[in-house]
């Protein structure tokens, strides 16, 4: 399971960065989404995957008796998902607006701000 997730994380990172390097604005958004998901999976993986052991202390005990699933990474991922959801929504609107105003989805055409004015 870990190995599979590690491979998927790597693939998502690679695909995300590759897409961000492409010239199309739409692919840029796809890259952002893939990269965001890759990071979330990475945090999930690094929090040590423990199956079927909820982090609940039994009534008679004071501390955890055995290994348990760490809830913190899941809380982190949840936060990160919400944030990247907001950012992606913003990105889509921004790109749509940019496409409408500039009439191109080629990132190489977005160079007027670098020119001297």
């Amino acid at each position: 399971m870990e190995i599979l997730l590690a491979v998927i994380t790597g693939l998502l990172y690679a695909a995300g960065i590759y897409m961000m390097l492409r010239r199309s604005l739409v692919k840029l958004i796809l890259g952002i989404i893939l990269l965001g998901n890759g990071v979330n999976l990475l945090i999930f993986l690094l929090g040590r995957i423990t199956k079927g052991k909820p982090p609940i202390i039994p009534e008679e005990a004071k501390v955890f008796q055995e290994i348990y699933a760490d809830p913190v990474p899941q809380a982190l991922i949840l936060t990160a998902i919400v944030i990247s959801f907001g950012l992606q929504a913003f990105a889509i609107i921004l790109v749509k607006r940019t496409y409408k105003v500039l009439g191109t989805d080629d990132l190489d055409q977005l160079n007027t701000t670098d020119e001297d004015s």
Partner: protein
């Protein structure tokens, strides 16, 4: 809990950004509310500063969850000083935006987002939890995305796409580093991390993590190979927005670097060399970039990169003297850079162009304003009694102590090139004969403004100039403050004790 006091500037900004949403339809209300809000926040931040100055580091454990488990807010000297500077800049920029930002932008919640941005900055300075730092960074960048694209002009959108992509990438790299760090140590509290990280066996992975942090924060603070988004986007939004970005947004990256590399990843020779080399390269590339630009706001954008190098270099030298220089430079730079972009806004208002070729004759037409503008421009260069001069002494001294003559040379070169650039700006914009400019139809010239509106444009610049003058002439106080902060940073046990103090008290 009296400790909650340190959160007051943050909560005031939150409250006012919500209140401003209720006043969505009335610009008049929004304008007065934002000025009131920023004044109260400024007063609160001064109070917090004095509190921490007198009683030492204050901490708040949110929800009363004790230190390594809950989110901790730590108001140490560095954090509250930066909160104070944030509120000073925010106050000045808010007044400036009342007149300078056009109605079409103000109508769509400009002020509300502006308060959210300031709240995010204050939160980032105060938090003692590294994941919480990420969340504050996201609040900052979301607000800054809105501010940079609000208005939807063509080159604004272009700048926004670049700004968005690279800042998003930086956040993702930061988050990756954070995930790896959590996997290694199982904690997110910075004080706890600082204790646990030295015990780890796998120091190679820690180093990779540190480099990821360096890249993530490096993009945000625009250091040498990672700065290209900055000159491509900072001149596109209204100058009030660029002012707050220039003054604070890159500095929050520098703050994060200082915090992480003095608290968590300490004393790594490779990293220090890396920091020093990117600092030197930033100074060179920023300085040379500034020389060849024609747009006045682009010139200032490149100067930001050049001066980020000074601060990163001080951090790279990693002695108390060098860190004190970095802190002093940070204090000076936030005020002066904010002011510079306000000045570029005022110049645009006077002449309806930002092009150095077309500008000119400002000194003839507005001698008093020109003299006022000379203060921040000369402070930036660091002509002796003014504020830019003092931190460079500490930096150069530290460079000699460490026998790092490359850095000493770079600081001197950076100062020299700043002088050349400012001399160029001064002679082009203030002394030369102006060239005719095609004016935008709806453009309202400075002379057509009402007296009160003129005052609202001039007052923030004058206010920040007075602060700059104080930093220059009261350099002894600022130097003492910087040394105190540097001592606190070098001896990170103080920080750790402050965070865990409440836990031992409770038992």
């Amino acid at each position: 809990m009296s400790n909650l006091a340190i959160l007051s500037p943050l909560l005031i900004h939150l409250l006012f950004s919500i209140l401003l949403m209720f006043a969505w339809r009335s610009l008049k209300w929004q304008k007065s509310l934002t000025i009131i809000g920023n004044s109260i926040a400024l007063a609160a931040s001064i109070w917090v500063f004095i509190l921490v100055y007198e009683h030492g580091t204050q901490t708040v454990q949110s929800g009363n969850w004790q230190a390594p488990f809950g989110i901790t807010f730590v108001g140490d000297m560095l954090a509250v000083t930066l909160v104070l500077l944030t509120c000073i800049s925010g106050f000045a920029v808010a007044i400036f935006s009342v007149v300078s930002v056009i109605k079409a932008r103000l109508k769509f919640g400009y002020f509300s987002v502006f308060h959210f941005l300031l709240m995010g900055l204050i939160g980032a300075f105060l938090t003692g939890d590294i994941f919480n730092l990420y969340v504050w960074f996201e609040i900052i960048i979301i607000s800054s995305f809105v501010l940079i694209s609000l208005g939807g002009e063509k080159n604004q959108l272009e700048g926004a796409v670049k700004y968005f992509t690279l800042n998003f990438l930086a956040s993702m790299i930061f988050l990756t580093a954070l995930g790896v760090l959590y996997g290694l140590t199982g904690t997110l509290n910075m004080a706890d991390l600082s204790q646990k990280i030295v015990l780890l066996e796998n120091q190679a992975l820690v180093e990779i993590c540190a480099v990821l942090f360096l890249v993530g924060f490096g993009i945000k603070s625009a250091v040498f190979p990672l700065y290209f988004w900055l000159p491509a986007s900072y001149h596109t939004p209204p100058s009030a927005v660029s002012a707050i970005f220039a003054g604070l947004l890159t500095k929050v990256g520098v703050y994060a670097l200082i915090r992480v590399f003095t608290l968590i990843f300490v004393g790594d020779l490779f990293l220090e060399t890396l920091l020093l080399s990117i600092a030197i390269l930033s100074i060179f590339s920023g300085g040379i970039g500034a020389l060849i630009q024609n747009n006045i706001r682009k010139v200032f954008s490149y100067l930001i990169i050049c001066h980020i190098g000074f601060m990163i270099g001080g951090l790279g030298l990693f002695t108390t003297v060098a860190i004190a220089g970095t802190i002093f430079y940070l204090i000076h730079d936030i005020i002066v850079k904010t002011n510079l972009f306000l000045i570029s806004g005022l110049i645009y208002r006077l002449r309806s162009t930002s092009s150095l070729q077309k500008l000119g004759g400002l000194y003839d037409q507005y001698p008093k304003i020109s003299l006022l503008l000379a203060i921040p421009l000369f402070s930036l260069v660091g002509i002796p009694p003014l504020s830019g001069f003092w931190p460079k002494i500490s930096l150069i001294l530290a460079g000699f102590e460490q026998q790092n003559y490359w850095f000493v040379g770079a600081v001197i070169f950076g100062s020299l090139i700043t002088l050349v650039v400012i001399a160029k700006v001064w002679s082009e914009a203030f002394w030369k004969e102006p060239k005719p400019v095609k004016k935008w139809k709806k453009f309202v010239d400075f002379s057509q403004l009402k007296q009160i509106q003129k005052a609202q444009l001039i007052f923030p610049i004058a206010f920040l100039s007075v602060v700059s003058l104080y930093i220059g002439f009261g350099a002894e106080h600022i130097q003492q403050l910087s040394e105190r902060i540097a001592n606190e940073l070098m001896d990170n046990q103080q920080y750790i004790d402050a965070v865990f103090k409440t836990r031992t008290d409770a038992r």
